[in-house]
Subunit: 441 residues, 2 copies
């Protein structure tokens, strides 16, 4: 087998076999297939696509490039959730303890904030003492004792993805649905999940800006999962505006605590319940979505999800004082208000600019090596649909550096729209994709 | 400027500017733009194409990557011809002395036999003593004294093409019309030609198998030449069957001697006259094609082209004895006949298999490092349209190794078709492309 022949085959619209894809990925990781062949193949895939079966082969080959975490010793249905990333997306911090409180086991390996998007690890680390560098053994122990554990990705999991992603990043081949699918899916299955719920974000603050792109990815995730014989649901959700009322690290943790205590913003609560409910159905813990949502609501109400979260924070080294009394947690030294420029209805808070502004304040990185601050971010005081008066406070920016605060405020000025008429109500869950219901490839 | 942004621009259908293409090619040659970015760009170009203007920018950037040969001290119109390669294509060996005898100066840098195609350098080197490794100084001297000189390509000419071609060869990006155009054109103009005639071969024995592909390349060559302000003609010619009656190295030299002496096969004579005539028109040595063809015919008849060839052979170290009495030249120790399997009309000699068979006998290389023999090849005794009887000799194979001779004969058995009806007459010149007549891009 020669890599060049396989590149030509894909270039000319052919489908690669399982053996051919294994040859390419295995060869690439071993250094026998060079970067310049993989990048030209990736560009051919960008143009020609891959069938769901091919994408499944690719996913499998990528999983085989490294270690897989064996969680067979952990009792309970292993179900995880993955979000494609957004602004104010702190769902994982509520969903994991909630799903665990309902009987799921959630082996969650997460990423860091980059660009305009936040990262679960950075949010967790804003809790004083919280460790996200669990080794595999400790990860298993926390999983067994808490029903969920949250850690960074191990270097030994799917090395093919790290290599391929770095290559795609510099060769114009990031935006390929099958390559994105295999990248996401390989990591999640290698990390020990048996079933997966994907939250495919769509809109200004998401990687997928349009509904068509988001749907293509959601269908690809669901169908590729099915081709691998796995239970997968993909939910397309709105990320045109931030989720909840907090954007930042500890600010988002505070909001999660509110939800876990039965308070907090309704949009975040609703979406979290919906996604968790899908996990319960996949895990066989509820017969259908409405039953699962009722179970989730009960576990929030009775405080078991909140206790599950506190148990996990203790198990992972965090000090619960900052959660029990969030005023004791990190707090930025300066605030600056964004005020309404006119009276009327607030119709839109553009998520992308909110993400950029939060990043500018220090809640995310523009380069991987930048530091991230736990205390900075944006508190959203008014949301779309609210009536506002000129000069009224819309947001409170929390920051460290006065100049950065001013710059972030300028960004937000362009991100908010006030108009004479109220906007239509926000639809948070746009579509739910179930491969079984889609029919065949 | 970042290479990845330019890859994305091309990938999404944009046109690259002159500066952007210079940045990529210059950076590539300097090692600042890595292989994996150029290969992904090449694949994007494969799918998106390039305008003739972009192809011109690419050609210019490639020329600028190395030395150009300064022939301003050589008086006379500098016109060259390039063929995309075929089987039995020995046109250059007659065309160059003929054009020189008509007043052109022909600075010909040629390539070697590879795969099923022959190479002008290997044919010339089958003349005992003939040197094709002239340095630039000697190349200029021979040009000045003979009106034409024939040598191998200097390493210092268009290094970008050597790098890019080697990369394209292993990344599935060879078959891209703009990349092929820039590769061919950059070398020819860097070698000092002012105007160019391209012989774009089409059919079984050619790189371009279909008329559409050949036309696309011919138009691209003509239009890109025009975008560079150069005089270019592209002629699409039939390469579905071998040209002339000899395939090999010295066998082809013998056939060229026949043509230069006013004998030889009509197809070779006609095509050579036509291509040379285009050169004369481009060089301003004849007002139109028919006038130019008449001048060529006269120079063949009066022996001046033949004398010009002998002068060049002497100047380049060759022993003219082998030309004046070809029986003194190289001769393979063994021959084997291919005989007709049935009676009827010979309707086709498939060029590709003839090229493979000749290569198998040792007239070409399957890998660059293989040796090439001067004496081996195929003598075609009957051509398409001839009536043949069962058992009659169709070809005579000249070889060194009995087993190879048998293998080559088997190949040829599948390459010849005998049928009850005569085929339509062969049309050698399929189309002549003049950018000026095509209108704008």
């Amino acid at each position: 087998m020669r890599a060049v022949d396989l590149i030509v085959k894909k270039r000319d619209g052919g489908a690669l076999s399982r053996e051919e894809i294994e040859f390419l990925i295995d060869g690439y990781v071993r250094g026998q297939v060079p970067d310049y062949q993989l990048s030209s193949l990736a560009m051919a895939v960008f143009f020609r696509g891959m069938s769901f079966e091919e994408t499944g082969f690719l996913t499998r080959a990528m999983i085989a490039s490294g270690d897989s975490i064996d969680l067979s010793s952990v009792p309970g249905p292993l179900v995880d959730k993955h979000s494609t990333g957004g602004v104010g997306d702190k769902v994982s911090l509520v969903l994991a303890p909630l799903a665990a409180a309902c009987g799921c086991v959630v082996p969650m390996m997460s990423g860091r904030a980059l660009g305009h998007t936040g990262g679960t690890l950075d949010k967790l680390e804003s809790i004083p003492g919280y460790r996200t560098d669990l080794g595999v053994e400790r990860f298993r122990e926390v999983l067994r004792s808490c029903g969920f554990a949250m850690t960074g990705q191990s270097e030994r999991i799917v090395p093919a993805d790290r290599l391929l992603y770095a290559l795609r990043d510099v060769t114009g081949t990031v935006e390929s649905i099958p390559l994105i699918t295999a990248s996401i899916m390989s990591k999640k299955f290698a990390e020990g999940a048996q079933a997966l719920v994907f939250d495919v974000k769509c809109g200004s603050g998401a990687f997928m800006k349009s509904r068509e792109q988001a749907r293509a990815l959601a269908v690809s995730l669901a169908r590729t999962g099915a081709s691998l014989g796995r239970q997968v649901r993909a939910v397309i959700t709105d990320m045109d505006q931030p989720l909840g009322r907090m954007v930042g690290n500890f600010l988002e943790v505070r909001e999660c605590v509110e939800i876990l205590q039965g308070r907090g913003p309704e949009d975040l609560r609703q979406l979290t319940l919906r996604l968790t409910a899908h996990m319960l159905v996949l895990g066989g813990l509820a017969p259908d979505i409405s039953g699962a949502e009722a179970l989730c609501a009960q576990r929030l109400r009775d405080g078991s999800a909140w206790r599950s979260f506190l148990d996990n924070v203790k198990a992972q080294g965090g000090r619960t004082e900052a959660l029990l009394d969030p005023d004791q947690g990190p707090r930025a030294p300066r605030t600056l208000a964004l005020r309404a420029g006119a009276s009327g209805f607030l119709v839109r808070l553009e998520a992308y600019r909110f993400g950029l502004a939060s990043g500018l304040l220090g809640a995310s990185r523009s380069r991987k090596e930048d530091p991230v601050w736990p205390d900075v971010g944006i508190e959203i005081l008014k949301v779309a649909g609210d009536r506002v008066r000129e000069g009224e406070e819309l947001c409170l920016l929390h920051g460290r550096d006065p100049q950065r605060l001013e710059e972030a405020r300028s960004l937000l000025e362009a991100a908010v729209t006030v108009a004479g008429q109220a906007p239509p109500p926000r639809q948070l869950v746009l579509e739910e994709i179930d491969a079984d219901a889609l029919g065949k490839d």
